[in-house]
Symmetry: C2
Subunit: 225 residues, 2 copies
């Protein structure tokens, strides 16, 4: 039971690395079993076909992805009470995490699936779609909290702004990989951070450190419930 899970994980590890470098169509089962040190029969014991492997691979990737965002943004939330500052810190932490990856970001499975769509069944395409929608909800939730406090300088649709986070991440990965410049991705996240700051930070030159105490003071003096 435990042993089976371990082998399965090892196959998924090898497969994930291969698929991110060569796509699903470019990754052969034979090379996976060679690298895992398993036999073909052993492989098909765990996954009945390539589609099932893709399914497991994608689900695991998405779960892990969600876990990472949960960690980063909840840590940012702990450190900063203000929703805007917390989000900005989260983006900072994310960019640091990305620039710490030794060989750059290995690639996003969601994008890989997206560029291979026609050869997967509807279930995988739905899973992929839901992953992107989950990103939209996640970042949208945080952005709505921000907008409750800070009116944006320009009118923006919150879902579109949330999608911008995903766009910059996906696009940044493509750029980083293509250019072979691992840092480009982290820089793009920081550029997005600049956008968010610009969009929500009050028009005064100095950041919140100056503005907020005034607001808080005013509220306290004015008599809140």
């Amino acid at each position: 039971m435990r042993k089976g899970e371990e082998t399965r994980t090892r196959i998924l590890d090898v497969a994930e690395a291969a698929v991110l470098q060569k796509g699903f169509g470019g990754t052969s089962i034979e090379e996976l079993i060679a690298e895992t040190g398993i036999t073909k029969s052993g492989f098909f014991y765990h996954f009945k076909d390539k589609n099932e492997l893709a399914k497991a691979l994608l689900n695991r990737y998405i779960e892990n992805d969600e876990r990472i965002y949960d960690e980063i943004f909840s840590r940012a939330r702990d450190l900063m009470d203000d929703p805007l500052q917390s989000f900005l810190l989260g983006l900072k932490l994310l960019s640091e995490l990305l620039s710490d990856l030794p060989n750059g970001h290995p690639g996003c499975l969601v994008a890989t699936v997206c560029y291979y769509e026609r050869l997967f069944d509807r279930e995988i395409q739905e899973t992929n779609r839901n992953a992107v929608l989950a990103w939209r909800r996640r970042f949208g939730r945080m952005l709505r909290e921000i907008m409750d406090v800070y009116p944006p300088r320009e009118p923006v649709d919150v879902d579109q702004l949330a999608d911008m986070v995903s766009s910059v991440l996906e696009g940044g990965i493509v750029l980083s990989k293509t250019l072979k410049e691992p840092n480009t991705l982290a820089e793009q996240v920081l550029m997005l951070r600049t956008f968010v700051r610009l969009l929500f930070q009050p028009a005064v030159e100095q950041p919140l450190a100056v503005v907020r105490p005034a607001q808080a003071f005013g509220a306290a003096g004015g008599g809140q419930p």
Copy 2:
């Protein structure tokens, strides 16, 4: 001579559509010859192997891509003299072009190659890299012109900002395809446009249409509002 070019083009057309939907590894030569109505030998007369097909496909795609950007931004340049307004108009035109695509953007070959890298030779990877660098130079050139006139509200690296355009496009394509929401890509371009406007437009609340006459009036009359 003419006939050969025509067949070659037909193969490339079929191949491009297939590759954008299924990746290189997922596209078989057999399906290409079936759809073009050519024989296997005929195919290999034009392209000695799949790598050569990819090379031709990528080069053609990049050329076409460059042509489109040339057209859009030179038209925007003709209509607007101010570099910022011209760039903003260019992004508007681009987003309109993208939202007019009947079935949404079919996908970017640069991204496809990026997610298939390991199975191509160094030449293709270099071609791909150069395409992204060309985008950086193109948008960088326009952004530099803007920065000569308008100081950005936040300090930004011009190359990173130029890359942001590519990021949002590449990421927007992935989102649009995955979500099966053709409009998402166009919206992302407009969101980027908001960022650029916010970053460079003078701190006054009203946009140029209102601000400019007032400035002109003030300069002529010698008095301040």
